[in-house]
Symmetry: C2
Amino acid sequence: MTMAKSSKSKENPQVKLKELGQELALQIQKGKNPEVEFGLRSLSNVVYDEKARMLNLGSKTQTRKFFDPRHARVFLQTMEMAKIAKTLLDVNKHASLRDAFYMAKRTIPQSTINIVDEQDESDSAIEDVELITGFSRERLNINANKMGSVAGEVTIEDAGDTINWARLGSGGWSIPSNVESIEFNSVKAKYIIYMEKQAVWERLHEDKFWKKQNCIIVTSQGQTTRGIRRLLGRMSEEFKLPIYVLADNDPWGYYIYSVLKFGSISLAHMTSSLAVPQAKFLGVTTKDIEEYGLKKHLITFKDVDNTRLKQIMDYDWFKNNKPWQKEFTAMKRNGAKVEIQSLSSRGITFISDTYLPEKIKRQDFLD
Amino acid sequence: MTMAKSSKSKENPQVKLKELGQELALQIQKGKNPEVEFGLRSLSNVVYDEKARMLNLGSKTQTRKFFDPRHARVFLQTMEMAKIAKTLLDVNKHASLRDAFYMAKRTIPQSTINIVDEQDESDSAIEDVELITGFSRERLNINANKMGSVAGEVTIEDAGDTINWARLGSGGWSIPSNVESIEFNSVKAKYIIYMEKQAVWERLHEDKFWKKQNCIIVTSQGQTTRGIRRLLGRMSEEFKLPIYVLADNDPWGYYIYSVLKFGSISLAHMTSSLAVPQAKFLGVTTKDIEEYGLKKHLITFKDVDNTRLKQIMDYDWFKNNKPWQKEFTAMKRNGAKVEIQSLSSRGITFISDTYLPEKIKRQDFLD
């Protein structure tokens, strides 16, 4: 079966999950082999949409049947996760992926077999439920990791509280794993800077950069969590705010940008809600190294850095992009990386007073 | 020289750093070899104080001289970091360890030699400055990592803002790397639960656990940052709040407790400001596995877990502690660990409704 989409179920994951159950019950009543059809999640079905500049799933589908020795276990796991999501939505509670795993790790009655044994299995089943229902796991009340901080002239409503991101001292607001139910009351900012390092965020925050420049500053630590991707995506879409990415001048920093902007292979089925196609790379670029006197702070690549750079250069979404290819080639020639924080060698507030204002004024981005 | 402590310099790191410089200038004027004497930071000088139940530095000292080929480089690095700290304090700005490294990584005039080449060197120099001045690096405006969230009936003043930890939606307050200048306006809570996992914090927060139980909930992710240790330490000391640690039932979870309560070898010179001797271990304990039906979720130890457990069992601060030795022995017998989140197998709010209230009611802690 392919799930028919009623207008109500498009908006409401509970309705959608109920419809899924009803469809399956109907198949069983008719004496059919219960089955469900949905998009194929495999590398062979991940396509880069040149026009939208996004990674998406292609049109290949798969059919999973209950009475099929290859499918039975996974079919059951998928239905178990659908049931867990339905329960969470019914009681209005959220669970982490790990929680959901433990909820599913139970013995099938009258057997010694567990529904899932490892979290890989429940994670994968949740991704299937995302595809089948068209709702992200956040909408199914299953949360990803919590990480990161935000500050700026923004007031929101969340979980019954009114929160002003401009009045939270040196700490800022701690970004939850799930930002779906946040309501934005007022947003006064011209753009958002997203950075991979908490320490850089603290630098900009102490310098009141967001106040002086009328912007919002957001950080995670390392790879961008789904919560932060959704937060940036929502603010980009709902308030047309430009998103500027501030990361190290190395393949790992560039990959953070790549995932944020274009999506990732493993989550290609969710790109439309998780990618932020408006994001631009602010720095640190290879050109900046010369321009801002950072040559002294080049750190020679290890083999793993060279390998990673080559992989990224060859991505479909970069390989026909001339400015990016020029950038990668320059980095390859350097054979070395530079960290954001090397800007501190020019003075503790150099990044806030000079580097960022200059780059933003001349709109010096890679796109 | 041993630094004489004027009453003013005891309170003010700027005064202290200035005195250090004046002392050295005086030595130079007298034609002496500039030197500084301070506590020896090495394993041989780390002692466990049975009475205070804390790891501390012993009484051994070292003297570092400028004109000594073994000391010259490190002497210079230490003075450079003292200078950077003084500058930061003068301009009222904070830097991360990485920033401080880049500020120190400069060429000595008329040479091709850098003051520091690797962050290890600047980090170590900062620890020396901590010892020489008696001020933690946070008081010297050099920050550690930012991490973690907090919620509860507490109002603070920080960086000019009044912040109510009870009114911050699903995210909570993002804990800064440096909590020295926070002022507590009002603290309405009976105890603090500190947990190693953000996902568990989100569970308790969604369940309004802190409100129902009149407590404060704090999380980092993995090892406790210095900022969080200081936050817990300050609240424990200033408001006599008990601190209960909620971690996985494994050697790594127990190590988190150990560092928080007793201090760590590498930071033994800072134990008095970084350790939280009042902390107690709430769970998950080996006894809980039976009591709360978690046996199904035992995860067999790898070699590395067994090795780590043995190391922890042999720590001075655990080896004569009968309840803890009993606990370690039971864990060793299990040869397996259990995660906090396995409690979700009993129901999504089981941890908030049953496990924690029961354990706290019967004061079922390891100390």
